[in-house]
C-alpha cells in the first residue's frame, strides 16, 4: 500500500466515543437476544407445565371410582355353594350359572331399599364375579364388597353434579368412598362411563403401531439407502425425491381416504382392523423415515466409504457394514418422529372405520379395533359427564405410551451411536 492511500484514510480511533457507543450497542443487542430467547423457552415450558397440570389434575380422577359398600351373605344367597365349584376348569361356567347379578341386586335391595339398584352402576356386579374367581373361599363367608355407583353420583361426589345426584351424595355421604378403578385399565369401551376401560384401545394402538413399524421402518430405510447409495442421479430420481417430500406434507386425512379406497375397497381387507390402520399409518410414516434416513446416510463421511471400498468391500458390504450402522442413530430419530406422529393420529383412522364402538379388545391384526387417540375423540364426544374425566385419563395413558415408546427409541439410538 503506498503512502498516498495511507494518508487519505482516516486514522482508526479504537478508544473514541463513537467506538464505545458501537460496543455498547452490540452488548445491548446481545442482551436483548438472550432475554428474548429465554422468554420463548419460558413461554413454551409454561404451556407444557400448564397442560400437564390440567391433564393430570383432571385425568387422575378418571382412574378412581366412587363406591358404596354392599354386604353379601354368600352362604345364605347362594344356598350353600362350596369353594371347590369355583376352582379348576369349570370355575368360569359355574360362576356364570349362579345368577350372580340377581344375588348382588338382592343384597343391594336389602341394604339400600327397593330402589337401591338405581344407585349402582349396572355392570358393577362383574367385580364380584372376578372376586369369586380369584378367591373362591369367599362364598362361605359374609363379605363386604365395594361396588361402583352410577355415573351421576360419581360425578357429583368428585365434583359437582345435577341437583338430584347432589342430594343422593348428601344422603350417602358417610358411606361413599373412593377406590382405584381397575376396570379402567382392564376393560374396553362401554356405554356406561363407570364401566369403560382403556385396555381395548391400548391394545389396538399397540398392534397398529407394530404393523406400522414393521412396514414403514424396513421399507423406509431400504428406500433411503437405495436412493442415496445406489440410484443414479437423473430426472426420475429427482422426481421421486420431490414426490416423497410432498408425500410427507400431505394432510393425514387424505391418507385415510387412500386407505379406504385402496386397502378396503380394492383389496377388500377387513374394515376397522389394526392391519388396515397400520398400513395407512405406515404410508404416512414412511416419507418421514425416508427423508430423515437419506439425510442420515448423506452425513456418513465419504472417507468411510472410500476406506471400505479401498480394501475390497462390495457396495452392498459398504452399505450394510459401514454406512447403515453409522446412519442408524439418525434414522432412528426420524423413526421416533414418524411413529410418534402415527401414534397420535386420528383423522386417517376415522376414514377406515376404526371409530366404531368396540367393546372387546382385538386379539389379532384383522379384529375390529380402535386406537387411543380415536378413543379419546369418541369419549370427548359423549354426552354423559362421566366421560370427561375418562377422556383426560385416556390422554394420560396415551402420553405415557408415547413417552415409553420414545424412551425406548432414544435408548436404542444411544446404544447404536458411534463415538468418533
Amino acid at each position: 500500500m503506498n503512502s498516498l492511500t495511507e494518508t487519505k484514510r482516516r486514522p482508526t480511533d479504537w478508544q473514541g466515543a463513537e467506538m464505545q457507543q458501537r460496543i455498547a450497542r452490540r452488548y445491548a443487542a446481545e442482551r436483548r437476544f438472550k432475554a428474548l430467547g429465554m422468554a420463548a423457552v419460558m413461554l413454551s415450558a409454561s404451556f407444557l407445565a400448564f397442560l400437564l397440570v390440567v391433564m393430570v389434575g383432571n385425568g387422575f380422577r378418571g382412574f378412581t371410582q366412587t363406591e358404596l359398600p354392599v354386604e353379601i351373605d354368600f352362604p345364605a344367597v347362594t344356598g350353600g355353594a362350596s369353594p371347590s365349584q369355583f376352582q379348576g376348569p369349570n370355575a368360569n361356567a359355574n360362576v356364570q350359572s349362579m345368577g350372580l347379578r340377581e344375588i348382588v341386586d338382592s343384597s343391594i335391595e336389602i341394604q339400600y331399599g327397593q330402589d337401591g339398584t338405581n344407585l349402582f352402576s349396572s355392570g358393577g356386579w362383574t367385580a364380584v364375579n372376578a372376586m369369586i374367581l380369584s378367591n373362591p373361599d369367599i362364598v362361605e363367608q359374609k363379605a363386604t364388597v365395594y361396588l361402583p355407583v352410577i355415573s351421576e353420583i360419581d360425578v357429583a361426589y368428585k365434583d359437582a353434579g345435577n341437583p338430584e345426584a347432589e342430594q343422593k351424595v348428601r344422603e350417602l355421604e358417610d358411606k361413599l368412598s373412593t377406590g382405584f378403578n381397575w376396570n379402567f385399565l382392564s376393560n374396553s369401551d362401554a356405554t356406561d362411563p363407570m364401566q369403560v376401560g382403556i385396555w381395548g384401545a391400548f391394545k389396538g394402538s399397540l398392534i397398529t403401531m407394530i404393523v406400522t413399524l414393521l412396514l414403514a421402518f424396513p421399507v423406509g430405510v431400504l428406500a433411503a439407502l437405495y436412493l442415496e447409495e445406489y440410484a443414479p442421479k437423473n430426472r426420475l430420481t429427482d422426481l421421486i425425491e420431490v414426490s416423497i417430500n410432498n408425500l410427507a406434507a400431505v394432510p393425514s386425512i387424505i391418507f385415510g381416504l387412500l386407505g379406504l379406497a385402496v386397502f378396503l375397497n380394492f383389496f377388500g381387507m377387513p374394515r376397522s382392523g389394526a392391519l388396515v390402520g397400520g398400513l395407512t399409518l405406515a404410508l404416512m410414516t414412511m416419507p418421514v423415515i425416508v427423508i430423515t434416513g437419506r439425510n442420515a446416510v448423506k452425513s456418513v463421511p465419504p472417507s468411510i466409504r472410500e476406506a471400505a471400498l479401498g480394501i475390497g468391500a462390495s457396495p452392498l458390504q459398504v452399505v450394510f457394514h459401514h454406512v447403515l450402522p453409522l446412519a442408524l442413530p439418525g434414522i432412528l430419530t426420524g423413526t421416533i418422529i414418524g411413529m410418534a406422529r402415527a401414534l397420535g393420529e386420528t383423522a386417517p383412522l376415522l376414514m377406515i372405520g376404526m371409530r366404531a364402538f368396540i367393546a372387546t379388545p382385538p386379539s389379532g391384526i384383522t379384529d375390529p379395533a380402535t386406537v387411543l387417540p380415536v378413543q379419546i375423540f369418541l369419549w370427548s364426544d359423549e354426552v354423559d359427564r362421566g366421560f370427561v374425566e375418562k377422556t383426560s385419563a385416556a390422554i394420560i395413558v396415551l402420553l405415557l405410551f408415547l413417552l415409553t415408546m420414545n424412551a425406548l427409541a432414544i435408548y436404542l439410538r444411544n446404544r447404536f451411536e458411534t463415538r468418533w
Binding site: 466409504r305 476406506a307 471400498l309 480394501i311 475390497g312 453409522l326 458411534t418
Partner: protein, 280 residues
Amino acid sequence: MNDDQKMQEPSESVNMTDLATTGMTSDGGTPKMTARHVDVFYGDKQAINDVSIDVNMDSVTAFIGPSGCGKSTFLRCMNRMNDTIPIARVTGDIMLEGEDIYSSQMDVVQLRARVGMVFQKPNPFPKSIYDNIAYGPRIHGLATGKEELDNIVESSLQRAGLWGEVKDRLSDSGTALSGGQQQRLCIARAIAVDPEVILMDEPCSALDPIATAKIEELIHELRGKYAIVIVTHNMQQAARVSQKTAFFHLGTLVEYGETTDIFTNPREEKTRDYITGRYG
C-alpha cells in the same frame, strides 16, 4: 509374477544402476502394473492425457507434480476407485500382471483387495483396532478361524510397526489413536488383505514430521513385499522414499525415471523448473 519373485529382496545396486531408463517405462524386471495411453475424463474435461507408465514390484514409485496435475486421479484409476465418480471415464489400458483391470472379466471388488489404497486423511473405521484390521480378511474369507485371524491381525500390525503400541488395547476404537498411528493402522488394514500393490495418496500430508518419518520408514520396510505407488507433494519425501519418480504436469506424464536421475539430472525443462522450486 509368481510368489518367489514377489518375495525376493531387491538389491539396492540393481535399483540404482541397472534400471536407468530413458523412456516412459522401465526395464527393471517384470512390471507389476502397466498403463498404456490412459486418458481420463471428468465429463468433458480431460484430467489425464495419454499416460503410459510401468510400476515395478521391487521399487517404490512416487508421483509428483503441482496440485491438480492429475497424479491422484491417475492413482485412483489404478484400483478403479474412480468408478465411484459417475462422470469419470477412463480410456486406454491399465494392466495388473497382464490382465486389463477395466475389462468386464475383472471383478472390481477383488481388484481393490489386490491393489490396496491408503488415503490422504487417515480414515480408520469407527470400530475397534482389531476389527479395523480384521474387516478385510473377514469379508474376503482369508482366515478360517479365530486363531488365524488373530495371526493376520498381529502380523499386519507388526508390519505396519504399530503392534508394540496397540497390542494391549486392540479393543479400543481405531479413531482414538493419534493421527500418525491412525495412518499406520490404515496401512496395516491394507496389508491385512494381502495385496500385491499398495497405492498411497499423499499419506503424510495430514501428519506431523515425526509421524511422517515413521510412515516413510514403514514404506522402506514394505518395499519389495508389495509394489508401492505414492503420491506426494513433498519432493524431499519423494527423493527419500522412492526409487522411481514420475512427474506429472497438467494431466500429462512429463518425465518418468530413476528418482536419482529425476532429482539430479532431469531431462525435461519443466521437471527441472518444478524440482528446483521455480513453480508448483
